[in-house]
Subunit: 125 residues, 2 copies
């Protein structure tokens, strides 16, 4: 198992456990989180821990589907279940030389209607 994969596995385990002290240790002091879909950004460990504690109120759980790590990079696919149901969450990570998470880019795809233009080329499940 790569270090990057291990760090991301611990990151998601800490989030699921609401172990915010451990969660904070896994990210760099100068961590940068970006969500390209909303163009939101959070900079710095304290702000990023607060974001995770406060931005997603109510009960929620996450289930790791896939973590792939190579060198100082990783990607994860989780399923996040909250008040609005279950949704995939896809993250790309970069680690710093101390193996702390330095950059996180986060994507949350929603369901959409299959375009009629390709409906004859696919099955549905």
């Amino acid at each position: 198992m790569t270090t990057a994969r291990q760090v991301v596995a611990e990151y998601w385990a800490a989030a699921e456990a609401r172990d915010w002290a451990r969660f904070g240790e896994l990210v760099a002091e100068d961590v940068v989180y970006e969500g390209p879909q909303t163009r939101e950004r959070v900079q710095g460990r304290a702000a990023y821990v607060r974001f995770n504690v406060e931005a997603f109120p109510g009960d929620w759980h996450l289930s790791v589907q896939r973590i792939i790590g190579e060198d100082r990079q990783a990607a994860s696919w989780i399923e996040f279940t909250g008040a609005d149901g279950t949704q995939p969450g896809l993250c790309f990570f970069e680690l710093d030389p101390d193996d702390r998470i330095l950059r996180i880019t986060d994507f949350w795809p929603d369901p959409y209607e299959l375009p009629a233009s390709r409906s004859h080329l696919v099955e549905r499940y």
Copy 2:
């Protein structure tokens, strides 16, 4: 560079070049593609090549942002530019023992409004 990363790099290069013969060689005879957002599935090499040739009409280009490979798995983040503008595309791959792509899970996140409930916790960019 891992084999998985190299195979996915060749996959995207073949798609961008419309080199469908090479594209087909990179996927397994029994490849399975799934798009969870629409619950669409394509099974088998011939159907999957046809899907890629026909399902996305008009000119389009893709730009690889990130490929991460570990063992027989990989993830990629591309930016896809077509008639509707530029959109991120996120894929998870599994390779078979012959290093051909056996499973592809594909996500296309759209922009959405930042929820007011977390607007005080983030910057915008």
